[in-house]
Symmetry: C3
Subunit: 140 residues, 3 copies
């Protein structure tokens, strides 16, 4: 049984959904040492999140941003957590809707993703800055 | 430490929420070899998802479909990813809201689910076809 | 490789979002034995859920409850699962939106959470009672 863990930082991105599969996998070559295993990406923030979705057409990422802004609008009259700007509380809600981590099986040294699946960094703040992730993998 | 992994295919189902606990567990008998462990089901698609919810009353599954169609309506004016039909972009959004994988603890050779918990396959396309899953389990 | 598992019960709480990080970690000291590992908290219910979000300002938890009540209102005309009261079906939907489990990396004997991250118990019923969790940790 092997267990690997690494901290990485994804550079600052604009508000929206961003495909980061290659940036994550290229920074964690230890995955190649596992024949059968499991990979987790965990984001150390509460106003950005991780999800899996279509890796091909950028229009999916644009529409995700549009729809999450509709599901979780800014300036709802009942928001009380409003100190850091209109994007603050919606970012927290979106982060919980999408989740802080991804678990992906490893098969023969590679993430076993479907043909159309990619890892999205979901940046919910207008100026979120860089984002810290903990990557962990284990297996045989 | 043991590590097991298997690919399965769930047969084509209608759009909606479907209870598949028995189909998944019966195809992965290796779970019985683990006294303490963890199980993951991972779906290799971006327009169907997995969740845990009530295993008894089918009305929960009907109402889930009704409400997710309200949360993520078809033909929103801001959708730009519209090539594959009105159910295409909503399916991607629902998949990210619900998630691509489930993690369930294993205790004494069985999935340690609550009395009312079952595994749902959430089919978000009108004609999604069969769905491929990777099942992984590890433990002692 | 070590593998630990424990059942705990969180006491009854009012409907809403509650910070339970300390209650969970203090009941699972085995985490300290792991230099690199993974932790899962799994809730054995379909009308309460777990999520990670801001651990400092209680207004985030208040606003989460307000917004989830807007996203998933009671008494929608299409609900058919209405036997147990107006909070019943919304609780099931919220549970699937937020999820039944959390996976958090372990580093040097501690949960590797971001500075602002805490574990929320999301109680979606008006009178949910105590909630049972399975805690599992593994690593080296």
């Amino acid at each position: 049984m092997k267990f690997f863990q690494k901290n990485i930082r994804l550079g600052s991105r604009s508000r929206g959904f961003h495909l980061v599969t290659d940036e994550i996998t290229s920074s964690f070559g230890e995955i190649r040492e596992l024949k059968i295993g499991m990979f987790q990406a965990f984001i150390l923030h509460t106003s950005a999140s991780l999800t899996l979705n279509e890796n091909a057409d950028p229009s999916v990422r644009t529409d995700m941003e549009s729809h999450f802004n509709t599901l979780v609008p800014e300036r709802q009259p009942y928001y009380t957590h409003i100190y850091e700007g209109d994007d603050d509380m919606p970012a927290h809600i979106k982060a919980s809707l999408l989740g802080s981590s991804l678990m992906i099986p490893i098969t023969n040294g590679r993430l076993n993703l479907g043909a159309w699946q990619g890892i999205y960094l979901c940046e919910h703040r207008n100026h979120g800055g860089g984002r810290k992730l903990v990557l962990t993998a284990w297996g045989i």
